[in-house]
Amino acid sequence: MNCRSEVLEVTVEGRQVDEAMLALLHTILLHRSTGKFHYKKEGTYSIGTVGTQDIDCDFIDFTFVRVTSDELDRVIRKAVGEFKDALSNSGSDGMGQISLEFYQKKKSRWPFSDECIPWEVWSIKVNVVNLANEQERQICREKVGEKLGEKVINIVEVINRHEYLPKMPTQSEVDNVFDTSLKDVQPYLYKITYQITDSLGTSVSTTMRRLIKDTLAL
């Protein structure tokens, strides 16, 4: 199938990067996570319950909803933290992109390793600006809050098109579709990567690919 690709762009101040990324990534994952599957005999399964949690941002006038899962939150925060560090270390004008990719694993025969086939990729382009004074920061707080609101509406719009979703797997196949490593929720298999754009604007010259998810097979 063709992989669906969506791009979101935001312009934020340095200290807002973490929260803006968390807000958007968590909003996407909220829609792409289910409860834990519990398979029983006869091929039936039941699904656990997903709780949700409101998170207020400190540097942005915004509140977002994420699934209540500390484990997932930790993983995402770690990825966002690395992205932010890379952005600050790049020394350039602060442009980068973080991508959340949902994929399916396809078992191949030996000696070939499993293939990872993405079916949805969300790219969030970030442009970091520096502000001179407190008043500008205050305005930025509100503006970024509104912008994030618009992005959330965009995300919801895309998701509600109900385009391709992997089929519900049998018990033996569940790890090819879902990430079953967390104990309270079950998102689709995903990986987060990022790229930092250097000052020349070329996105590949200083590319750092970091694979955060350990279930990724190379």
Partner: protein, 517 residues
């Protein structure tokens, strides 16, 4: 149309739509309560959370929604609408948003009801959760309190957007196609926040609503007692609720023949919205389980329960998402019935005990929900997020306490002045003070007077004893009344004698003075 849809599917679909509507209302109202919401994820399958989402059911909201639905479902031309408005302490009100759940004629015959439709409805609810935090009314509702409150109203029928002012915006949350029509959920929200109030001073609103006028009056009473059909998103005392005792259980029992309450959930709420009356034991089983005795009900806050029968989804063969035959529920389902008078479960505190077993008797008792409702004046407390994890008793202990605090404004009841100060005061008066002092001492028995910073084990004469002794010193002789009356006259009379005596002894006095020098 119905020929294409099996009766079972039709029944399931109706049920899904009904509970989707109820959950939609819950999400919207809860998002406007003014607090952060947090529910727990539960990995083990309870089969009891509709759409696999932990969304709490506030009973009076369910009650209102059911009242509005009046046993019908949203259908073509009859939309379910939730109107959110703002009312200030001066009585001005303004509509902020209208959320609409509509159904149109476009059918999707090929879709699988119990799987695809269900999952898409679940996705739509998640989208609703996200979108409700994005519209402008969210920020306003987080700041409600002294100056204004947020109210909701549920109605059925034609959507009315006239009250939203000019230039209102619409955002579509999502659509789900079903064999009997397409469900659309959208929100129309006001953008023009110019307000009718005359007073316009509060910096709070400078940012969020440019022209919003704020009333600084700090009202203590409930000014919103007569809101008519409007219901506050946070309000006090269930007794004032027009609905009276929540007949939710009875209503739901009309719909489903059996009901049971699940054990207390692992979800607990941080909401300020809390009230005393018992929650009812009714929410429906979310899963499309075909129990032969109809679908069991479920407690208002469904959650994990040890003994809930597994409600299987359709069997999946291979990698197909086709749904096959639905297995029938284990017969143990039918064994769970709510007690005959669920409303008698009394004031219940919601406990989060995850170990609660469905099979335990009188399950409605185990699920207790204490909500303490506070009136608008809450604001001094920061809205700290209270997560649900492992909070049952501690949280339940907070709620009534906090409620009490609000009820009896501590500012109004100053602590009583200690009675022990009076003996001291008594001793300071000169006239007859010994009497009063003693009387004071008799009236106030100071037991175990422990003065600060003193140890009482070192000396027999400790600070406390010292203090007590010298609190009431004996009066000076010259100050006593019986002497003073006569002394003046006597003194004058005795003066010449004294002078004569002193003159006689003048030599002695001189010698004495010389010894001093």
């Amino acid at each position: 149309m119905d020929n294409d849809l099996s009766p079972q599917d039709k029944k399931d679909l109706d049920k899904f739509i009904k509970f989707f509507a109820l959950k939609t209302v819950q999400v919207i109202v809860q998002a406007r309560l003014g607090e952060k919401i947090c529910t727990r994820s539960s990995s083990s399958p309870t089969g009891s959370d509709w759409f696999n989402l932990a969304i709490k059911d506030i009973p009076e909201v369910t009650h209102e929604a059911k009242k509005a639905l009046a046993g019908q479902l949203p259908s073509i031309g009859r939309s379910m609408c939730v109107e959110i408005s703002l009312k200030t302490s001066e009585g001005d009100s303004m509509e902020l948003e209208t959320w609409c759940l509509e159904m149109n004629e476009k059918c999707d015959k090929d879709i699988k009801v119990s799987y695809t439709v269900y999952n898409r409805l679940s996705l739509l609810l998640k989208s609703l959760l996200a979108i409700t935090r994005v519209t402008p009314a969210y920020k306003l509702s987080r700041k409600q309190g002294h100056d204004y409150v947020i109210l909701y109203r549920i109605y059925f029928g034609e959507v009315q957007m006239a009250g939203l002012g000019e230039g209102f915006q619409t955002v579509r949350v999502g659509v789900v196609g079903t064999p009997i029509g397409t469900i659309t959920l959208s929100c129309a929200y006001r953008t023009n926040l110019a307000f009718m109030s005359t007073r316009c001073r509060d910096s709070q609103f400078e940012r969020t609503a440019p022209i919003m006028g704020i009333i600084i009056d700090h009202f203590v009473e409930r000014p919103f007692g007569n809101v008519g059909h409007m219901h506050p998103c946070n309000y006090r005392a269930p007794g004032e609720e027009e609905g009276g005792a929540y007949a939710g259980v009875e209503d739901s029992q009309e719909v489903c023949t059996t009901s049971f309450s699940t054990s207390p959930p692992s979800q607990l709420y941080s909401s300020r919205l809390s009230y005393q009356p018992p929650t009812l034991g009714a929410a429906d089983l979310c899963h499309p389980a075909t129990c032969s005795a109809a679908h069991p009900h479920q407690m208002a806050v469904p959650g994990k329960e040890g003994g809930v029968p597994q409600v299987p989804m359709q069997p999946y063969h291979g990698a197909q998402a086709e749904h096959g035959r639905r297995p029938s529920c284990p017969s143990s389902d039918t064994a769970h019935h709510i007690p005959a008078t669920p409303s008698s479960s009394g004031e219940d505190a919601e406990t989060c005990s995850r170990s609660s077993d469905l099979k335990s008797a009188s399950p409605s008792d185990t699920l207790e929900t204490t909500f303490t409702r506070k009136v608008g004046a809450f604001v001094n407390k920061p809205t700290t997020q209270v997560t649900t994890a492992s909070l049952d008793l501690p949280f339940a202990a907070f709620a009534p306490r906090a409620y009490d605090l609000e009820e009896n404004d501590p500012m109004v009841h100053p602590p009583d002045s200690p009675a022990t100060s009076s003996p001291l005061q008594g001793s300071l008066h000169s006239q007859g003070s010994s009497e009063t002092g003693e009387q004071a001492q008799e009236d106030f028995v100071m037991v175990d007077f422990k003065p600060a910073f003193s140890k009482d084990d070192l000396l027999p004469m400790d600070l406390g004893t010292f203090y007590r002794e010298f609190q009431n010193p004996p009066q000076l002789a010259s100050l006593t009344i019986d002497v003073s009356a006569q002394s003046m006259a006597e003194d004058l009379d005795s003066l010449p004698e004294k002078l004569a005596l002193y003159e006689k002894n003048i030599d002695e006095f001189d010698a004495f003075v010389e010894t001093l020098q």
